[in-house]
């Protein structure tokens, strides 16, 4: 799962629906038999996509996720990019691209801060199937 997707995914338990704590899901508690594993995967660089998706990114949540995954070097405020093709923005866009699209969470677990449900990620696929008692 990409870091970008981790910035959008929220708890799917119905009771959590209106709670502000169900987003973002936290990576701070990992189980020993499923240690956190990250990988780098090359994706074609497209500055237009980054610019399209940047306004929708919740920056504080991204900071939390990055910190829990071991990266504390992000700026505190969301960078502002107006022109995707300007040369001075290129390095920033490439950094964002590498963080959001090329960093993959291969395995680990995500925790909902509201209900405490843990979602496991295996082979980079998070499991969002709920046990029967949480469905209703």
């Amino acid at each position: 799962m990409k870091i970008l997707t981790a910035n959008f995914v929220q708890c799917t338990v119905k009771a959590c629906g209106s709670s502000p704590d169900c987003f973002p899901l936290h990576f701070d508690q990992q189980t020993p038999d499923l240690p956190l594993e990250l990988a780098h995967e090359d994706v074609d660089f497209s500055p237009e996509f980054i610019c399209n998706v940047l306004p929708r990114i919740e920056w504080p949540a991204l900071l939390t996720t990055a910190r829990e995954l071991g990266n504390a070097q992000l700026p505190d405020t969301k960078p502002d990019i107006e022109n995707p093709n300007a040369p001075e923005n290129e390095q920033l866009l490439r950094d964002l691209h590498a963080l959001l699209l090329e960093t993959q969470i291969i395995q680990g677990s995500m925790r909902c801060a509201n209900c405490g449900h843990i979602y496991f990620i295996r082979d980079s696929i998070p499991n969002f199937l709920l046990p029967g008692h949480l469905v209703q």
Binding site: M1, K2, V9, Q10, C11, S46, F49, D123, F128
Partner: protein, 266 residues
């Protein structure tokens, strides 16, 4: 060919063997590709969008999303075997093992568009004793509406079993707040007839959707609403009395005085 929906739940039906067969069949590949292209054609998206693929399976439709316009996509499917095939094929999108009937697990305004090829008819089935298709449909469309940005678009190709399934899907979509309707391709052909549910969230100009001359069939919900506005006071009273009678309430009999104004001496 019998319908897969009636033989088993999706995660059971698409087993390891069936998933491999499905993905390697060149006939299915061709049909899936042409339906995905058609759906993209209707949506008329600008390049580099963030798209959700519901029932992505082995990523046959996702592949096309990556190729056409360089979209970034997230796919969700309930069958682990299908997702395993997608992993083997090394698709570019993110994959989720999730049940669409429990809602899509994304926060508000995540996606520019949603695409779904041959999937949402599965929602009309109750695969376990505690599953209510109506509730699952409602939950699916409600969460889908939330996960789309305002002005987002949805194209779902599906195989309804009969008229009532189409209707329940349309009604669920409209009560979630979507506008739009059904586009039917190859209407005369029994075998190649294809249903596309085309929806928009929030206000979108109808020009933003490329219908290419086909008309969206909107009739499903518009009719009762208009009828309500035009009815007279007496008709309103009769309709409400009828409704209460149907619910088993004790209601006064209709007479010539029903819905009449009282004389001024009262």
């Amino acid at each position: 060919m019998s319908r897969p929906e009636i033989s088993a739940p999706p995660e059971v039906f698409y087993s390891d063997i069936e998933s491999k067969k499905y993905t390697s069949s060149s006939r299915i590949q061709h049909i899936q590709a042409s339906m995905t292209l058609r759906a993209l054609d209707v949506l008329a998206l600008p390049p580099h969008q963030h798209i959700l693929d519901i029932g992505c399976g082995s990523g046959l439709s996702g592949e096309i999303l990556s190729q056409e316009g360089g979209h970034v996509w997230v796919g969700m499917d309930i069958s682990p075997s299908m997702l395993a095939v997608a992993l083997d094929r090394d698709v570019e999108g993110d994959l989720f093992l999730a049940d669409m009937g429990n809602g899509v697990p994304f926060r508000a305004g995540t996606f520019d568009a949603v695409i779904s090829i041959s999937a949402i008819q599965w929602l009309c089935n109750a695969d376990s004793s505690n599953a209510d298709p109506r509730k699952r449909l409602a939950r699916f469309f409600d969460s889908l509406y939330a996960a789309l940005k305002r002005g987002g678009k949805v194209a779902c190709q599906f195989y309804p079993r009969d008229e009532s399934q189409t209707e329940s899907i349309l009604n669920a979509a409209k009560s979630a707040g979507f506008s739009g309707g059904l586009v039917i391709d190859d209407e005369e052909s029994k075998k190649n007839k294809k249903y596309y549910l085309i929806l928009t969230a929030g206000n979108v100009n109808s020009n933003d959707i490329n219908l290419g001359g086909v008309k969206i069939d909107k009739s499903a919900v518009m009719r009762p609403k208009r009828a309500k506005k035009e009815e007279s006071r007496k008709e309103y009273i009769l309709r409400k009395k009828d409704l209460m009678r149907k619910r088993g309430k004790l209601v006064a009999l209709d007479s010539q005085f029903t819905g009449r104004k009282r004389k001024p001496r009262f």
